[in-house]
Symmetry: C3
Subunit: 139 residues, 3 copies
Amino acid sequence: MKSHRQELWFNTPSRRNYINITNQVEDIIKKSGIQEGLCLVNAMHITASVYINDDESGLIQDYDDFLEKLAPHEPISQYRHNNTGEDNGDAHIKRQLMGREVVVAISNGSLDFGPWEQIFYAEFDGRRKKRVLVKVVGE
Amino acid sequence: MKSHRQELWFNTPSRRNYINITNQVEDIIKKSGIQEGLCLVNAMHITASVYINDDESGLIQDYDDFLEKLAPHEPISQYRHNNTGEDNGDAHIKRQLMGREVVVAISNGSLDFGPWEQIFYAEFDGRRKKRVLVKVVGE
Amino acid sequence: MKSHRQELWFNTPSRRNYINITNQVEDIIKKSGIQEGLCLVNAMHITASVYINDDESGLIQDYDDFLEKLAPHEPISQYRHNNTGEDNGDAHIKRQLMGREVVVAISNGSLDFGPWEQIFYAEFDGRRKKRVLVKVVGE
């Protein structure tokens, strides 16, 4: 069994952002030389998500509206977590709804994807450096 | 390390459907000959989910009611994604809530499951051919 | 490829509980002797979750409030599943929102984690013995 590990770094200009990282993950798989296996892609921070869906700007806005409706950023006093002095209680909830990680199949040395699958990094508390881990295992 | 890949195809008669695929996944694991490892089961389309829970008809109706309350199909104009001419904005949200994939352990050549765990394919925008990927890795 | 399998048992005193199991998972990884690979941690029961987020008491209360707002325990008659004689329809929904499992990378024989990542067992229908499965694969 072979394995390969690499990090992606992000520093988004605004609090919430949605970034298509499919090509970066595909490049890491190529670099790993692994032909058959699994690839884990996870946010290393707890106010961000990695998820798979369509790269369509209207849909991304729909996700953002939906998350903001269910767990609005303000008033920040509505979250007990913000009593610690932070203001990102909403981001911890948004992240849980969208998920921490995806596990994707590698077949013939590439992402084994359906026609519209794209991997996204979703940031819910940006404006600072944060990381995604890509771990590839297989042969 | 061995690996095995197989697709399951679905063409559900209605927009939303919940199908127990546990036996099909178990058959694929047997066919792979893998005794110890991991099995990834993921929707290859972005308006469908694979999840694990109970096979109980009341519960499935509860899930459907819950998802339809949080992200109703109509009015379709409430989703920006539908400005593209599609009508499945709700399905993209429902799929995120229920998840894209499950990763299950294989022990002694079988699904390593608790007493009530069952794998479901959940369709939120059916009436056409769509696929699930089963990827088995191990030894 | 090596693999290792171990169960964690819980019997929580109240219906809902959130337990940090990071150290127990780390101990199992050490015991497995696996240096590079993947570790699956999943609830074996369908009214409980395994998730990764911060170990901060205010945040845990925020999660609990959020889940109880979206899928309240009472009135139990609001869930068709409870027509079976059970009273845990809400717990099946809460578990779907928080997720069944996490897959974590193992690098250099340890959990490959960001600074605040902690693994939690979330119980939504406790007061009886229930299990979590830890399956480690790698080399």
